[in-house]
């Protein structure tokens, strides 16, 4: 039986961050082993609505988003040999009230300052871009360079490419702890024995914190539960990624024709059986009411499934991407707070540079360090 217990780099977490970084490292000739507890992409990577968005991002992670959109997403299908269904149809963030407009204006102003092309438009202008919207929409922010992609195909596409480049994946292995040897990270203790590497990347979503804690590393990250509904295929209506200032729903029409729409009831996080990805009976109705308010034309469209997933919410809603100086050899990338998918191809470049070159030179991630958390006042 084939076995591999040692590698130059072990990546903990077979999600899109792990798969994409494995691909980047393998491309640079590194021997990589990826450990995954369940299946490839079973966490947030396959449980998100596929937004590839720069607008409404915190300026601190905007460089990652802009780099991904400008330099990676447009060619990614070709690069991976898998159609990741990337569509750059723009992002509309809709508002119904004065309060909504304030929220949208605030984000727009911040993003514009960082060089992102995003503007406030009127309800009528928004309806010109997307004629299916209700008259209730009074304003929107519009970022034409935003878009969406298929997270399932992107994640598994990175995985496939990494495999082809010689990366080894081991699934069904739960990481229990990390251990240092002579002051450097070395061992990964799992329910299937010990794996060893010179460098370790921890990118296991909300599980990252538990694992990091075993070498005394912590970050203020909690898991958050979210739900999405998927409809039957519809004739192609629009390519736009949608969000609403009020937060009722977000999502897009996929290449397949189905609508993938996320949202929350406020109650979903309180179901006690969430480890089984149980949905809350009130969430889909809540999302549906939101959809009808903005897109009454979709009221006869049938929902074929609902699903749910965790994301790792960081206290400042930003990821931690850093080499951990206290534990030499350990690199972390987690806390993506529900908007990691769109930046994942860029994160993989930054992380691979962090691990191989000691710092990220291509993309500025200096605001996302591990030591940025301080007490209030």
């Amino acid at each position: 039986m084939l076995e591999k217990r040692e590698a130059d780099v072990i990546i903990i977490g077979g999600g899109i961050m792990g798969c994409a970084t494995a691909y980047r490292l393998a491309k640079r000739g590194v021997d990589v082993l990826v450990l995954e507890k369940k299946e490839i992409g079973n966490g947030g990577s396959c449980r998100n609505a596929g937004g590839v968005r720069q607008s409404a991002r915190d300026p601190k992670e905007l460089p990652l988003a802009m780099y991904a959109v400008q330099n990676i997403w447009p060619q990614l299908s070709e690069e991976l040999g898998v159609d990741v269904e990337y569509h750059q149809g723009g992002n509309l963030r809709l508002g119904l009230t004065d309060k909504d407009i304030k929220v949208l204006e605030n984000h727009t102003a911040k993003s514009t300052k960082l060089g992102l092309e995003v503007e406030m438009i009127s309800g009528d202008e928004a309806r010109k871009l997307c004629p299916y919207m209700s008259e209730e929409v009074v304003a929107a922010s519009w970022c034409p360079s935003d878009g969406h992609a298929n997270p399932l195909k992107a994640t598994l596409g990175f995985y496939r490419k990494a495999l082809q480049l010689g990366v080894t994946f081991v699934t069904g292995v739960k990481v229990m702890a990390l251990e240092k040897v002579k002051g450097r990270i070395r061992k990964v203790i799992t329910d299937d024995g010990v794996y060893e590497a010179d460098q370790i990347l921890l990118c296991a979503g909300y599980e990252s914190r538990r694992i990091a804690n075993t070498v005394g590393i912590d970050a203020p990250v909690e898991r958050q539960f979210n739900e999405v509904l998927v409809t039957e295929a519809q004739p192609k209506m629009f390519d736009i990624m949608l969000g609403v200032a009020g937060g009722e729903f977000y999502g897009h029409q996929s290449e397949h024709g189905s609508f993938v729409l996320g949202g929350n009831s406020g109650l979903q996080a309180f179901t006690s059986n969430n480890d089984n990805f149980v949905t809350n009976s009130l969430t889909a109705p809540c999302i549906s009411r939101g959809i009808i308010k903005y897109f009454p034309i979709l009221e006869n469209v049938k929902v074929v499934r609902t699903w749910s997933g965790w994301y790792d919410q960081c206290i400042d809603v930003l990821p931690v991407i850093d080499n951990i100086k206290e534990v030499p050899g350990l690199t972390v990338a987690f806390g993506f707070s529900g908007h990691g998918f769109g930046i994942s191809p860029a994160v993989s470049i930054a992380v691979s540079e962090l691990m191989l070159d000691g710092k990220s030179t291509t993309i500025d991630i200096s605001q996302l360090t591990y030591d940025r958390f301080h007490a209030k006042g």
Binding site: A233, Q234, P235, G257
Partner: protein, 104 residues
């Protein structure tokens, strides 16, 4: 073809005769028919053409599971005709992908 007499089944719980349209053509069926049964009795086999390969599909499971028999009913696509009762005046259209036939 409808079964006119049967050695075991005395009656099929059918109501009165009603008319509906299939791709604009007027057809008759009975109250109590599923849309699929009325079409089958009228000799219609093709309910839709698929999105990718444009291949014809018709009745397959007839109990609402497989969703192969879906058509456009009163303008709404993807209606499972095998479990949807026929109603007088229904407009039923062959479905192409998820849309009605595009005018050439």
């Amino acid at each position: 073809m409808r079964i006119s007499e049967h050695p075991i089944i005395e009656s099929y719980h059918k109501g009165k005769q009603i008319t509906f349209t299939f791709d604009g053509k007027e057809l008759t069926g009975y109250e109590g028919d599923s849309i699929a049964a009325a079409l089958k009795a009228a000799g219609v086999m093709v309910h839709r053409y698929t999105a990718k390969q444009h291949k014809p599909r018709g009745i397959f499971c007839a109990i609402g599971r497989c969703t192969d028999c879906v058509m456009i009913v009163n303008g709404v696509p993807n209606v499972r005709t095998c479990v949807t009762p026929l109603e007088a005046g229904m407009q039923i259209q062959t479905q192409y992908g998820v849309e009605p036939k595009k005018e050439d």
